[in-house]
């Protein structure tokens, strides 16, 4: 049997795919923003002087990294309400993705922290900066610059992982594509267009991030 390509039905719903793409990007932005804060806190905790905080950071990272994202998402969406915490599907997914990206970013930032030269930290201490001032004004900026490429990769990864939100009926790109597929039976066309959108978005994000890296030259 011959399968002839007809993109017409897919183009008719192209706006749905675009809005799905926007939702995925939005979820990734929110998740990585929160994840960045979590990652920074956990990374500083993990190299800091307090054993309890180091332990808490290690626990967080290994707990999250040993869970599949899908399980974490289902847990947040279905189990939290049982515990009396009701979030809508956007909130629960963004929360799950934030926790997930935070664990990966902890490792990214930790590597960045370790790469800050000890002598530079001592120079900050020598002019009288407190530990907190040193972390804010010296360590964090150097570490963030060192971490920028990995931060970008994590963002792209989280954007692609936003497709998992389809499992709880968040109308992002994958969810919309599946709906169009079911409605039109244009399997190849639908998934080709959806893939093209994912790839195009990732290429654009990567280019933007490279631009950002050029604006903050390596030391």
């Amino acid at each position: 049997m011959e399968y002839s390509l007809h993109f017409g039905a897919v183009w008719a719903s192209f706006d749905k795919l675009l809005s799905g793409l926007a939702i995925g990007l939005g979820l990734a932005v929110v998740a990585v923003a929160i994840g960045t804060v979590l990652g920074l806190l956990a990374a500083f905790a993990s190299v800091g002087p307090y054993r309890l905080l180091r332990w808490a950071a290690a626990f967080y990272v290994s707990l999250i990294r040993n869970l599949p994202l899908l399980v974490l998402v289902l847990l947040a969406y279905f189990a939290l309400p049982q515990a009396g915490i009701t979030l809508d599907k956007y909130q629960s997914f963004a929360g799950a993705l934030a926790l997930y990206s935070g664990a990966y970013l902890t490792e990214v930032f930790r590597a960045g922290l370790i790469s800050v030269p000890k002598g530079v930290i001592e120079a900050a201490r020598a002019i009288g900066l407190t530990r907190l001032q040193t972390n804010v004004s010296v360590v964090a900026p150097i570490m963030l610059r060192n971490a920028l490429p990995s931060l970008g990769n994590t963002f792209i990864g989280m954007f692609k992982d936003s497709s998992i939100a389809a499992a709880i009926a968040v109308p992002e790109l994958t969810f919309e594509a599946r709906k169009i597929n079911v409605d039109t039976f244009r399997v190849i066309e639908t998934w080709t267009v959806a893939s093209g959108l994912y790839i195009a978005a990732c290429v654009v994000i990567a280019a933007l991030l490279r631009g950002l890296e050029r604006r903050f030259p390596k030391f």
Binding site: V120, E122, A123, I127, G128, L129, R131, I142, F219
Partner: protein
């Protein structure tokens, strides 16, 4: 201000160990305001460690350091000796400036930004005032035109002069310099030594660790020879280099002067 009652820096019986190894075995040293004291001695004798204790970058196990009459680093009460809080240590560190062998400039800040950070965060000066002070100090070390350059855009000698400006701009009571030319290409050494000589001539109190014997002789009011964690000889440059009493010092001078 130091006066007749106390020297600007008074180190008494300073003892420091790394694990089981005793690195400083009871160091006594006094500096008066305006003194320029050079520490010489063979590798591993404890020179760097001594400076780092004075700037409270290292903890020490015994003895006392007083800066301008204030005991620094530790508080003792009811027979116990306790390290001060981070805030107190930071306040005391701001009273001494430190210039490192490896410059240690903040790579994400311009030359002016490097000088301004302490002025803004520690001395809480307004931005315009901090900038003016930074430009003034950069001009004094001959880098007025490089204020907006990043460390990666500067030569080693220029970076070290920024580091000197960064330390001096805080108006410290005492400046510690640890082999500030050792990481430099030979042709860049002199510009940094001239800068140090300039601040010495302006009346700054300096404690200098150096392997540049000629420089130590030219610039110092006193020279101290360290040997295995102790001060083995302490005297004017003419005595140290001309008529050393300590046999180890005589030996050290023979081997370093080729």
């Amino acid at each position: 201000m130091s006066d007749k009652q106390h020297p600007l820096l008074a180190i008494r019986g300073l003892k420091k160990q790394f694990g089981a190894t005793e690195v400083l075995k009871g160091v006594d040293l006094d500096l008066n305001k305006g003194d320029v004291v050079s520490i010489i001695g063979s590798s591993g004798s404890g020179k760097t460690t001594l400076l780092r204790c004075v700037n409270l970058l290292e903890e020490y196990q015994g003895g006392e350091i007083a800066l301008d009459g204030e005991t620094i680093g530790y508080r003792s009460g009811d027979g116990r000796r306790r390290r001060l809080s981070d805030r107190e240590l930071s306040r005391q560190r701001a009273m001494t400036g430190m210039v490192f062998q490896s410059f240690n400039l903040f790579p994400h800040l311009t030359a002016a930004g490097n000088v301004m950070l302490g002025l803004r965060k520690v001395l809480k000066l307004p931005k315009a005032e901090a900038r003016a002070i930074a430009e003034n100090w950069l001009a004094r070390v001959g880098l007025a035109a490089r204020a907006d350059h990043y460390p990666s855009q500067l030569s080693g000698g220029q970076q070290q002069r920024v580091a000197i400006a960064r330390a001096l701009a805080m108006n410290p009571k005492l400046v510690l310099l640890d082999e500030v030319t050792s990481a430099l290409d030979p042709e860049l050494v002199q510009e940094v030594l001239n800068t140090v000589k300039g601040i010495a001539d302006d009346g700054a109190t300096l404690l200098i660790v150096t392997h540049e014997m000629r420089f130590a002789r030219d610039v110092s009011s006193r020279v101290v020879f360290m040997e295995q964690g102790r001060i083995a000889e302490d005297g004017p440059p003419a005595q140290i280099f001309g008529a050393p009493k300590n046999a180890r010092l005589a030996e050290f001078l023979r081997t370093t002067r080729h």
